[in-house]
Amino acid sequence: MSYIPHTEAERQQMLDAIGTPTLDDLFEAVPASHRFPTLDLPQAMSEMDILTEMQALSEANDHAGDFAIFRGAGAYHHFVPSVVNHILLRGEFYTAYTPYQPEVSQGTLQAIYEYQSMMCQLTGMDAANASHYDGATSLAEAATVALEVGRHKRRRIILSAGIHPQYREVLKTYHQWGGLDITGDESVRSAADLADLINDQTAMVAVAYPNYFGQLEDIRLLAERTHQAGALLVVVANPIALALLKSPGELGADIVVGEGQPLGIPLSYGGPYLGFFACREDYVRRIAGRIVGETLDQDGKRAFVMTLRPREQDIRRERASSNICTKQGLMALAATVYLSVMGKNGLRHAAELCYHRAHYAADRIDDLLGYEVVRDLPFFNEFVVRCARPVAEINAVLSARGIIGGVDLTPHYPHLADHMLLCVTEMNRKSEIDALVDALREARHG
C-alpha cells in the first residue's frame, strides 16, 4: 500500500507483541463519538496516473518553457546550472533534518557555514544567519532586531516606498500589535526626503538597493543621518546586483536582507525561496534564526555546529524574540552551490548580462512611440516604462505573442497609472528583447 511496508503477517506479529487484538484498539483514548470519521477524498491513485495529472496541471500554466519572461518584481528568472539541482537531489541533504546532532550533520553544517561566508562577502557584512523564509520575512525580522537594539523605546520604523510592496505588507503583519509608528511609504520619496523623517524615536530606516523600480539610490547620506540618530539602516538587496554594485556594507548598512531566490532557485510560483539576513558583528547576538559556527571536536578536529542557541525558541520559549524554527536550509544549499559554480567571475558576468541587456532593452523601448522609460535614476536590470495604454491591455497583446510582460504598477502606486515595470535577465537573449520591442510596437495600437 503506497509507502507502508507492512505485510499482514508482520502486522499480526506486531499486534501480538503489543498485546492488542486489532489496529483499531490502539485508538481507545480518542473520544469514541469522533473516532474514525469518513474522509471524503478521491481514491488512491497509481504513480503513473499521478504523474499524468501533475503534468496536466503544470502545463495549464504560462511558464518560462513556453513564454519569454520580462517580469521580475521580486522573483527572477535566472539561469540555474545543472549542478545545483543534482546536488539538491542528494537524499543525504534533502532528507535530513535540522542539524541538531553535529556529529552526523557536518555536511549540512559546513554547507551553511560556506553559505554564511558567501553572503557576508556579497553584502559586506560580518555575519549572516542560515536564512529566513524569504526576503519579506527577513525584513520583518530585521525590524525586530532594530526594535530590540532600541530597547523597545524607539517606536518609529521608516520604510521607503521603494521597498517591494509585499515586503512592507509582511512587516506590517508581523508587527501589527507592536504599537509602532511605521511611516515613510505613504508616497515615493527620495533618500534625502526619507532622512527628514528620522527623529530620536526612530529604530530603523529601511531602503531597497536596487529599489522595487530597479533604481539605484545613493544612500550614503541617509546612512549618516540614520546613524547620527542612533537608528539602524536596513538595506533590502538583490544578491545578483551585488556582484556589480558596491556592497551595502560599504554604503553604511547595519543589516542587509533580501531575497536569495535569484541564486539558483527556480521561480516555483513564489516559493520556496530564501530570505538572506546579514548584519554587522554588533548585532549578531540579537538576530533570530539558525547560525552555524566553526569549532573543534574532542579530538581537536575542525567541526561545525549551530551556535548562539540560547537565543532560540526551543530554549528561550516565551522570552525568545522570534518563534522561527526552520530555516530555508535546502534553498541556502542551492545558493551555496550556485555561488560556487558561478564563482567570482561568473556571478559578475551574469550581473553584467542582466545590466547591459536591460539597458539595451530600455534604449530600444524608449525609441518607440507611445513608450517612455523613466530615467531619473540609474537602474540595474529592471526599469519603469510609461505606456500610452493601460498595462493590462498591452500585456494581453504580448501574451498572445508568447511574452509575459512587465508588472502593472497601478495597484500599488496609483500615481504610476499606465506604468509597467519590466525586467531583463541573462535569460533574455537579444533576439528575445527585439521580439519584445516588436510586440510593444504592435501593442501601442491594440
Binding site: A96, E103, D126, Q176, G293, C325
Partner: protein, 497 residues
Amino acid sequence: MADTPLIYDLSVPGRSAANLPALDVPEAPLPDEFARGPLDLPEVSELQVVRHFVGLSQKNFAIDRNLYPLGSCTMKYNPKINEDAARLPGFAHLHPLTDDAGAQGAQALMFTLQSWLAEIAGFAAVSLAPAAGAQGEFAGILMIRAYHRDRGDERRTKILVPNSAHGTNPATVTMAGLHAVELPSNADGNVDLDALRAACDDTVAGMMITVPSTLGLFDENILEIIRLVHECGGLMYMDGANMNSLLGIVKPGELGFDVMHYNLHKTFSTPHGGGGPGCGAVGVNEKLVDYLPGPVIRIVDEGAQGQPPLYGQVMPMRSIGRLKSFHGNFGMHVRAYAYIRAYGGDGLRAVSQHAVLNANYVRARLHDVYTVPYDRTCAHEFVIEGHWDTAPGLHALDISKRLMDYDIHPPTNYFPLIVPEALLIEPTETEDKATLDGFIDVMRRIASEAQTEPELLREAPHHTPVRRVDEVRAAKQLMLCCRPAPDWQTVGVETAS
C-alpha cells in the same frame, strides 16, 4: 574521515565553472559611485564543486540512509515522485506574478489541496500561506487576537500553554504580543484539569495544545479541555505537529478546535531539507474564515457547464494579512498534493494506524529495559527516560551519541522538558518490521553496554565524521564566516558630499 576543505580553500585564481553566453548587446556604462571592488567568491571547476558537495553530503545522516526516529519531527520517507512533480517545468518555471488566468493549473492544485486539508482535519477553510509550522502558529494566534478585538473583547491577553508544548508555542504567543500562561501536566501526562479550571477566566484569549501531546499521548480529557476554554470565551488552537497519528482517526475541527496548523513537512511527506523549507498551512472553522492569512485560492467564476471554474487569489475580508511574499511555499504544496493523491482517504487512515502501530511495537519491546514514564498505549511516538539508577553518570545524550555508532539517528533529546533525560522516539509508518527490530536490538544492546562498558556510551560516537564538538568554544570564540567584511570605517567609507 578527513576534514573536508572549505570550498574557498579549493579556489585557484582564474578558474571558473560558469558557462554563460557572451554579451550580445552594447555595453552600458555603470556610474562609478556604484561600482564595486573585488568580490571574493570561490574560483573552482564544476567537478570540484560536485566532489565537494557530494563529499559533504556523505557526512550527513538522512532518512534515505537509515532509521531517523526523531520524535515530534515525523521523519518519514519522502517519495521520489514528489520531487519530480515539483520540478515539472510548468511548476518550477512559473512566475509568482503571472496573471491568474495564466496560472490556473497551479491555482487548481492549491485550491484542491486547501479543500483536502480542510476535509482531513474537519475545518471550514485552509490557507496555504504560512511558510512553516511556526508561521502557522503565528497566524493562528494573530487570528484569535483579531477575533476578540472585533468583538470588542480586548481584555483577553492570555494564551494557555501546557508545559509539554513545543518551544515555538510560547514564543509565538509573545510574538503576537500576548502572554503565555503555562499549565502543568498531571501524573498521566494529561493537562491538569484543576489548573486549567483555575486559569480559565475572561482574560483568556485561547489555548494552544498539541494533540496528541509531545509525550505521544492522546489527552483523555480533550473534549473537557475544549469545553472549559470555550466556556470562558477562549478559542482553541491545535498545534498539528503530531497530525501523523490522526489522519482518518479523528478530525480536530469536529472535536471543537477553532484553528490548527498542519506541517506539510511532517505529516504530508515533504522533505525537511536539512531544516526547511516547510509549509505550515492553517485550517479554521467558520468563526475565523474571514481572518485567514492571504492570499487564499477561491473559485471566482464557476464557469459554463462542462468548463472548468476560474480560480483566483483572494485576500479574506478581515485577513490578519500577508505572512510572506507571493503564495506560500508552492513547491511544498505540489509535493503534499502528490502524496495525498497516492493514498486517498483510506490510505491516509492506514498511515496513522501504522505510525501508531510502529510506535507501540517499539515501546512494547523496550519498556523492560528503559523507563517509559507514561507506559500506556501511545500515539505515533513515545518518550523514554535515557538513564538508569544502575549506571550513574550516564545521560540520554550518551545513548543518542552511541546510536550514531550503530548508524541510527538519535531520537529527540531532552524534549519534552517535563520528562527527565527524555528521549522521544517516533519511528513513522514507513519503517518495516525488520528495521524496527534492528533498532530495538541496538537499543537493548546499548542498555546492556551501559551496565558493562559505560565508557562506550560516554565516549561515543566513535565512528562519525567528527566526534563530540565543543559548543562552548563555538559560542565564545565566534567564527561565523571565513570571509568577514573589512572594517568599512577604517578602509574609509566615501561619504556623499
